[in-house]
């Protein structure tokens, strides 16, 4: 897979729960933050999109948990993106530093709503096109 963006993080203690490991929902936070930071690098403006009535939304998320992160762990979140039908699908891997073991693997299906209806979004697509992973699976 062609990873086009990666962001480094360090676990914050308040993200850990009573089992001493990062709470499952926080991986979704890490992935969301990574997506938003990536989208900013493409020049995409949520404000402009919203002004045009275009709302990108997450339609489905799947996360496979492989290894828990703990207090003080550092990690990267990597991102690849594919166009699959009307969906823009982000593949996001979280890898622990420095051993690069796979912590979690996410698949985030996003779609564009234009005036509340599912629609192809040419502006978004033009921005993302250079980053698409076009390999056959």
């Amino acid at each position: 897979m062609k990873y086009v963006y990666e962001l480094k993080f360090k676990v914050r203690d308040y993200e850990c729960d009573l089992e001493g490991i990062v709470n499952n929902a926080n991986y979704q936070h890490y992935m969301e933050h990574t997506r938003h930071e990536f989208l900013l690098t493409t020049g995409l403006s949520f404000a402009e999109m919203n002004a045009q009535g275009i709302v990108p939304v997450v339609a489905r998320i799947t996360i496979s948990y492989k290894l828990p992160l703990r207090s003080r762990d550092e990690f990267v979140c990597r991102l690849a993106v594919r166009k699959e039908g009307v969906r823009y699908v982000f593949y996001q891997d979280i890898l622990r530093l420095p051993d690069m073991k796979l912590v979690a693997r996410g698949k985030v299906d996003t779609v564009c709503l234009v005036d509340g209806r599912l629609q192809e979004c040419t502006a978004l697509e033009a921005m993302l096109e250079p980053y698409f992973d076009k390999e056959e699976e």
Copy 2:
């Protein structure tokens, strides 16, 4: 103190941190939710206030932590409100159930910004007036 509102909660496991107790910041969440629920009962509409350019903001918060909450604990958050100068000050106690031991005590100073400037807000005050604790301290 004249408590005018109280809301019941139960600790959710994801609110606990790696020490097995509710993370300190979550008490602030409990207090915020209690204030907002109280304000709704007064008929106050944030949407309407915002439409008039009135923005109530928290200027200062003080929380004294007395006893930690743990997984499965139930508790109430009580609220009293006073007018102190241009500030509307919420006094919020969190009490563990069923023993009613004091868990945390909060003092939340809020002010109104009208078009970005600190100002008396007559609409808000008219709503809150019946609930004020007017005792001398």
Copy 3:
């Protein structure tokens, strides 16, 4: 599907993000809290399981987002559970009140680690057995 548990919630404003809707990760929190509350009703004790070296973990989660929740919305989170191989799979629907529209649908695959290794967990299974949805899909 045979729902065996349901928990009622109300959106808290701090759970909403800058788009005015509940942040995606919070649905995972709602589902986790519902699972934990359900497990408590079965008499299952995490403390006891942990003392025996048994750790139930989430191996994978899939959430389909259908409709966003907003400030003040009330909703229920329903739960069904199936045994699928060595996995205990929770099917969790979030339905908005009072119109019962489907907000989000979750599938949460959990497994038991005994001393760090994937294993059937007879104690857990005995507890969950009466609740299993045994219908063919």
Copy 4:
């Protein structure tokens, strides 16, 4: 005031609430993470302290909110520490980048519990001593 530590952050969108600004409770998270990172640099080990039955806890927190942080804002959290009686008091300022405007000012009173009782903690104090701000106020 003698600042002895500073940590840089960037707002994550999920930390913003429906008003488009960082939710008040998250400043407490930023301050907690900064304290913990600072304490790690001093060589202090929470694990060792806990093994000796020493538990540092937050007894009181006061945060003054001056200016809201918004999506994409970068900021630093600075820290000074003083000994005041049996309390170790952290003074924590959050400053927006690059204009260094004061966003929030925190005062965090911490105490040591040894076997559940308030006590001077010589091990902690020896670690913190080089960092104390000893100026008269």
